[in-house]
C-alpha cells in the first residue's frame, strides 16, 4: 500500500501542493499529469532521490526512511535511450552482473522476460544492438526483479510499440493479481482508462479530481482532457 499525505514539493519554481491519496494493494492508481516535470519530480521524491518534499510518504504504513537500505518499492523510470545503457558488454554479461553484483533475483528477472516472449539469442548481443522494445523488456525485467509489494512507475510505456504495451499490460495485471499496489505516473488519459482502477487528475500541482476507471468510461474523455490536462 502506498500512501501520500499532505505532500508539498517545492523545487525551484515548480511545486506540488498538498498531495494526498492512497493506493491499495491489488490496485493500479494512475496519476495523470500533463507536465513531464511534474511526474518526474514526484517520481524522484517517491524514490527518495529528491528530498525537497514535506509531508508523508508511507509504504505499507511505514515512512520510506524506515525501510533502511532496502528500497520501499520497485521504481520503474522512463527510459530515454538505449545508448544511455551502453555498457560495452553483452546483455547476458550485464544481466549476470545485475544479479551477482546488485543482488537482483535472477529467477524473477527471467520470469518477466518469459512473459515478454524474450528470445535468448539477444543475450549474446550488446545492449546498444538490441531493438528498442527488447531493451525495454530487459529494463523492465531488471526493475521488477526484486520482489516487492509496491510498484511506482513513471510513464514507462510512452513511445513504446503496441506489442510491447500489451506485454507490459499483461505484466501489470499479473502483478496486480499478486496483490501489488501500483502507482503509475503518466500523461496518457486513454492508457489510464485502459489499465487503471482509479485515476487522479493533477492540474497546476494540485490533485483536482479522482475517478474510478469504471466511471471514467462513462465520462467524456475529451471533456476531461480539456478540463484537466489542457
Amino acid at each position: 500500500m502506498i500512501t501520500l499525505r499532505g505532500l508539498n514539493i517545492n523545487c525551484e519554481d515548480r511545486f506540488w501542493d498538498s498531495l494526498g491519496f492512497e493506493v491499495a494493494d491489488s490496485e493500479i492508481y494512475f496519476l495523470l499529469s500533463r507536465a513531464d516535470w511534474g511526474s518526474d519530480l514526484l517520481f524522484r521524491v517517491l524514490s527518495g532521490t529528491d528530498s525537497s518534499a514535506t509531508g508523508a510518504i508511507l509504504y505499507d504504513g511505514r515512512p520510506a526512511r524506515d525501510w533502511g537500505k532496502a528500497p520501499p518499492a520497485v521504481f520503474i523510470d522512463r527510459v530515454a535511450d538505449v545508448a544511455d545503457f551502453e555498457t560495452e558488454a553483452r546483455l547476458g554479461d550485464w544481466i549476470d552482473f545485475l544479479c551477482a553484483g546488485l543482488g537482483l533475483d535472477r529467477v524473477n528477472l527471467f520470469k518477466t522476460l518469459l512473459v515478454c516472449n524474450f528470445h535468448e539469442r539477444y543475450l549474446k548481443k550488446k545492449v546498444r544492438d538490441l531493438p528498442r522494445d527488447v531493451f525495454h523488456q530487459v529494463y523492465l525485467a531488471a526493475c521488477l526483479a526484486p520482489e516487492h509489494k509496491n510498484i511506482v512507475i513513471n510513464d514507462f510505456i510512452r513511445g513504446a510499440e503496441k506489442g510491447f504495451e500489451l506485454k507490459f499490460n499483461k505484466l501489470l495485471l499479473q502483478k496486480k493479481a499478486l496483490g501489488r499496489a501500483i502507482l503509475y505516473l503518466g500523461s496518457d488519459i486513454f492508457y489510464a482508462s485502459e489499465i487503471a482502477d482509479r485515476v487522479g487528475f493533477i492540474k497546476n500541482g494540485r490533485l483536482l479530481f479522482e475517478a474510478d476507471a469504471a466511471d471514467l468510461k462513462e465520462m467524456d474523455i475529451k471533456d476531461l482532457y480539456l478540463k484537466f490536462l489542457n
Binding site: 529528491d50 528500497p71 523510470d77 545503457f85 560495452e88 553483452r90 554479461d93 552482473f97 543482488g103
Partner: protein
Amino acid sequence: MLAFLRFEWRRIFCVKKNLISLGFIFLFSTYFVLSGVDEYRQFLSEKKIFLRYEREKVSHVVNYSQYGGFGFRILFEAPALNLFFINSNILQDVESNIDTFEMIEVESSFKGNKLFLKRGYFKDFAGMPLIFGSLFMLYLGHVALISSAYLRFIAVNTSLLKYYVMTTISRFFWMDLFFIALSVGFFYLVGFWGIFFSRQEQSNYFFCLLFQILFLNFFYLLGQLITVLLRFRKIFFFWFFIVWFVCVFLLPEINRLSVFNQSQALESAEKVNLEKFRTLMALEKKFRDYLKENQSVPLDQIQKMQKKFAVQYINSTYLVNTSLESRYLRTVEKVIADHERQAILFPTTFYQFMTGEMSGKGYYGYLDFMDYIMQVRNRFIQFYLKKRYEENNAKVESFVKGDENVFHSHSRLPRTYWIGALVTLLYGIILFILTFRPLKRQVFQP
C-alpha cells in the same frame, strides 16, 4: 566484488576496440623493447671497437708530450636498464676527451649511422604508458560510468557510492594488471637475449612501475571527472583530446621551457672556458717571459724550470681551474634540483623526469659523468706531468689500465621519488572525490 571484477573484465577485454588498442600497445611495446635490446647490443659491440681503438692509439704515441695532447676518450656507458628508456634520456650517446687542454667537453658523435638516430619523443618502452597508456586510460575513465540515466537505474538497487568505488577498483585492477604484466613480462623476457639486471636496477624498475601505475590511474580518474563535469555529453572527445594534449605534451614542454629559462641565468660555458684559458695563459706568459729574460740558460736548466713551472701549475693554476669547473657544475646542479622540484608538481612532468634518471642518462647522470671526468682528468694530469718530466722519451705507458675510459652510469630513482608518487596519489584522491560530488548531483537531481 567478484561480480564487479568479472563484469569489468568483460567490459574491457571483450570489446573489440579495446582489444585493438591493447594489442596496439603490446605490439609497439614489443617493437620498442626489441629496438632497445638491439641498440644496447650495438652499443656493446661499438664499445669493444672503441676500447680497441683507444688501446691501439696509445701504442702509436711517440712520447708523453704527444700523449698529453691527444689524451684519451671516456665513453659514457648507460646501464642495461636504459634499453627500456632509450629515448627518454637527456644525454645522447656521449663521450669526453681527457687531455692536457683546459676545456672539458662532453660530445656526441653524428658520424655514420648516428646521423640518422633521432632521439626524443616517446619512441621507447617507457613512452608507451606516457602516450598510449594515458590516452587509453583516459578513454576507459570516460566510458566507465556510462551515463547518468544508467547510474539512476543502478542507484535504485545499490548505493551509488558503492557502485562508483567498486567499478573504479575493478577497472584499476584489470588495467593495472595489464600494464604490470606487460612491464614485468618484458623485464624478464630480455633475459633471453642475455641481458640481466643488477639488484639495484631491478628494484628501481619496480619502483618506476609503481609510479607508472599511479600515473595511469591518475589519467583514468581524470577521464571520469571530465565526463562527469561535461554531464556525459558527446562533445566530450574534443575536451578529452585537449586535456590529454595539455597533460602529456604542453605541461612537460612548459616545464622544459621553464628549466631552459632558469638555465639562461647560468654563466656561459664558453665564459668559464675563457676564464680558465686566461689563468693558464698567465702562467704560460710567466714561463715565456722567463725564457726571454734567460735566453742563454742551458737546456737542462730550462727543463728544470719547466718542471718547476709544472709543479706550480699543479699547485695553483690547475687547482684554480678545477675549482672554477666544480663551481660551474654546482650551479648547474642547482638548476637541475629546481627542475626536479618543479617536475614533482604534475604526474607527466615527474614521469618524464623519472624515466630520464632511470635511463642513467638523465641530469644526475650528467653530473656524475662530469664529476668522473674531473676525477680522471686530475689523475691523468698528475700522471702526465710525472711521466712527461721524468721519462718523456721512454715508451709511452697508457694511463688507462683497466676500464677507466668507460664511465658506468647508474640507473637511479629521483631523490624526490616518494614525494612525486605521493603528489600523484594525492591528485588521484582529489579527482576521485571531486568526481563523486557532481556525479551524485547529476544522478539524483537531473
